[in-house]
Symmetry: C2
Subunit: 647 residues, 2 copies
Amino acid sequence: MLFVLVTSVLGISYVLLLSMKILDSSPGNEKTIQLSEIIQRGARSFLLHEYQVFLPIVVALSLVLGFLLGWNIAGAFLVGALLSTLSGFFGMTIATKANARTSWAARYGLGKALKIAFSGGAVMGLTVSSLGLLGLVFVYTLTKDASKVSYYSLGASFVALFARVGGGIFTKAADVGADIVGKTEANLPEDDPRNPAVIADNVGDNVGDVAGMGADLFESYVGSIFSALALAFALNDERKSSFALFTVSVGLLASMFAVAVTRFLSDKSKDAASTLRMGTILASSALVASLLFYSLFQKSFVEFLVVLTGVIIGIAIGLLTEFYTSGARVERLAKSALMGPANFLINGLALGMESTLVVTLMIALGVVFCHRLLGLYGVALSAVGMLATLGMSLSIDAYGPIADNAGGIAQMAGLGEDVRMITDQLDAVGNTTAAMGKGFAIASAAMTSLALFANFASVSHLESFDIRQPALFVGALIGAMLPFFFSALTMKAVGYAADEMVEEIRRQIREIPGIISGESLPDYARCVQIATRGALKRMVIPSLLAVGSPVLTYLSLGAVAVAGLLIGATTCGVMIAIFMSNSGGAWDNAKKYVEEGHFGGKGSVTHKATVVGDTVGDPFKDTAGPSINILIKLMAVTSVVIATMRR
Amino acid sequence: MLFVLVTSVLGISYVLLLSMKILDSSPGNEKTIQLSEIIQRGARSFLLHEYQVFLPIVVALSLVLGFLLGWNIAGAFLVGALLSTLSGFFGMTIATKANARTSWAARYGLGKALKIAFSGGAVMGLTVSSLGLLGLVFVYTLTKDASKVSYYSLGASFVALFARVGGGIFTKAADVGADIVGKTEANLPEDDPRNPAVIADNVGDNVGDVAGMGADLFESYVGSIFSALALAFALNDERKSSFALFTVSVGLLASMFAVAVTRFLSDKSKDAASTLRMGTILASSALVASLLFYSLFQKSFVEFLVVLTGVIIGIAIGLLTEFYTSGARVERLAKSALMGPANFLINGLALGMESTLVVTLMIALGVVFCHRLLGLYGVALSAVGMLATLGMSLSIDAYGPIADNAGGIAQMAGLGEDVRMITDQLDAVGNTTAAMGKGFAIASAAMTSLALFANFASVSHLESFDIRQPALFVGALIGAMLPFFFSALTMKAVGYAADEMVEEIRRQIREIPGIISGESLPDYARCVQIATRGALKRMVIPSLLAVGSPVLTYLSLGAVAVAGLLIGATTCGVMIAIFMSNSGGAWDNAKKYVEEGHFGGKGSVTHKATVVGDTVGDPFKDTAGPSINILIKLMAVTSVVIATMRR
């Protein structure tokens, strides 16, 4: 625990150092500074409004927990909620500072710009890991009971749900709204400052892909570590729990090392993709090498193998995502658009559905292997292995929206063709890393849920039960339905919020004279406000569903039905998440492929067909798909908590 | 058993009588006769080719079964396969005779046409039930062991898979091909004889929606009865098994009665929908009343309640399907097409996903209720109750494609506006009944799979097992993936087969002069041949997946993993099937709603958007969705067979 504390404090110090370095660099001219500030204000305003919605619930829940179960439990819950909120807020603040600085640095070449954008992402990545670990140490010291750490995890999950669902609805409502009126009706190009929703679109990248993604992975990180610890404690095996803690600490150190090296290399980088890929490989290799060394010393070779399996699954799933959302597969998909939008859609849907095969088999094999070696603890430990270098992998994820924002600012501030070309390059790499990050987030959610399920089964004493009870099957049936229903809610939420957005944009263009001629500025803040309101209003019901379903099932049908519920929701949820994420990613990239001049290029009938697919894919890959990660994790952690309470 | 034998023989006699009555009516003039014959020849040729693909496999499998397990088992398997094949062939032959006769009868008013079309459907419906029961009696007499009836069910499932998947690919490849070139490129109206694929399109309705649907429900019917019998025998309770047998026999009699009354009423009918609805209500009421009487007499009131639950679930799911694919929901969906195809698609996808909620909760409640009352046997018995009046419900299902064909023939033979108006009315009703039939098929597949699962669990002696074994979860993960992967395969198969079709249509229009001017006939047979080849080639791999996955899982991971596999595949499969069927149905009807003149009407931009949705929905609702029914049933029955073999 002391080692964990030291690494997390080291991590936080490095984050502060990085933040200072970013703030030290020039934010550019008056225009870029102004734009960056508007975006930042919008993002902050969204988060503050979001907090107003969920903080009262968090406080109320912790009071209930405190009265019922004791104040240390309430404290654990509160720490989880606050640290997740804090990481999101801090990471996003730095990200919105890094965007203008990236576009300004692009004037001095790709390397400089890459360095700032990546550093901005690294602040998010390392904050999540460091604070996650710090909170863990704190809660464990507070409660002196590994099973109580579940409340820490619950707090983090709770916040993550709102962050992911709310952020996901916001970002796509803004994006779709901006596209529909801006591009289609008023014929404005992407990122045009005359489009009233352009700022909201940029804000969306930050609240969805930075804050939302960060909260999602904070939850996976904390949940997997908690599961491994609790299962190790249940076995009364201190060597096992210290191995898990050692793995995450070394993982954080390896991530910091990899971030430092990547920053150093990016200065002279000519190819952003390969620099970032090298960083990822470096983090994993450093982790694996240190653990190998440690296990030779400690004779814990089996544990090492399990962690290695987790690392390999994580990497392999990233590569598989890349396989399905780029290269030959996407070219073939783009070709299908020649036969019209319907054909493009059918093929994209089929592609996403097909992509579930190998990922599933890989996770299944990994789980069987790790369980053979170390039992349920092995399953949890491999999840820990997969997430150990989260510091680095999340850095690369969060780099994407910064690069995207930088491109928007460069365009809006008129920084010239050269700068825009560099930010476009960075943005393209960001799209690939975002797709891979989504795959990783799904896989880690699956592994974490599995680890939590193991915990639930262990706490509920379901050692010997009769499978012929219908409760298991009925629970699974209801569980399998939830991700579908949940996706319907989030997809419709995007639709409604986008409609409100469209009306507001039309109103501004109609009522404020001189917007289209560029003489007067649109009311950006009002668009942000509308997307914020639209998102927050519609995130409550899906959230209640996630928390309420295991509670209701437990009370009405018992623990076996909850086991079924978790099995149904997790297995079916993972499939839908993979399907939606890969269909969406493939449509997006097929559209970009056509825009590069293939099959008729921009403006052709084929291009129009791909735009339809991309628009359908947007809520798939950025709202409904990622939200399911949280749904299944929150359901699992809620179940663990109920089972613990009932014990 | 004797009672069952008598009713099934009665059923067969009535079927023969009905067939003769249909053949007695006038097939019309030279043109309608010719068209009907071409369609019939195409449908027969498809079926014969299909048999060439699967009969060798069936024979080989029965030889293997014979050598390994005894010739009575091989016989049971063979009887299941042959009776399913025979019902499909006979039902379809009559359906292709009834189509021209329906269009000719439409000259004398709606009632006459409705009577013939419905009679044609009733031949299919009653053949399936009667032969299903006859085979059951035969196999039980042959083996004297209820558990051996599983091989009869396996034979039927095996054939159903090929019929459903092959027929589903054929029908949509022909439909999409005909639409793409005919409507879009050559600007021909629907059902225009100058379109080379028009016959293939009509053939498709027969092989997909008559033969395929019939085989699907034959399997559900046989599977649910087998499950109830086997579970009753396991309890050594003769009263229980005779109640199940009594229920199906009375159900068949009630269906025959309802068919007779419906035929009588249809003569004077002004409103096809209400006449058919009355028939359905009549069949269910007759069943419920007889059972109530029987249970008062036999003091088996609990059994009666369970059957009643099954009947209610079946009806309610039909109504729910109607709710989601017509009326206000569809109008709202059509309105969303005003914002373009992407919006229409997103809302349709969300609608289908949302529609899983109530259906799932209803099945879950029903299962819990029936299990409380009568244990696993209760679950199987409620499935039997749901399917008991299959004779009537399938009659109405199979009526749809006959009415559709009749419309096509009326158009191609130029029978005039009046006739076409009547066939259009019949067709519209057929679309609604088809959608409800799909809902019913899914619900019955879910209940049958559940009953088979109960059987599997009972045979495998999984009374006491440790849920913390990862095998259950891993099995469920793989199981949940299969319906997605399977859907990807079938959807892509439609795409490829449609592409081949499009090429052939283009070739004919290019190479055969005078097609477009109407001077020479296109080569209809060649189009049928191409769709046949395309469908048969691509139905093999999905089929192997369904049979192979439980076998492989059993051998590599054991019985618990197979239990997980079935849970994952059934729960997730049911959701996808509901989602695809309702999204597809809603898109289709929203398109029709716009074509009626709303939101711009035919030819408007809104209409184009709805056409995109409808085209995406076609493989959803007619290929991938329905095929999943068989996937989950075949997986379940295969698992039961393996478990029985291993015992």
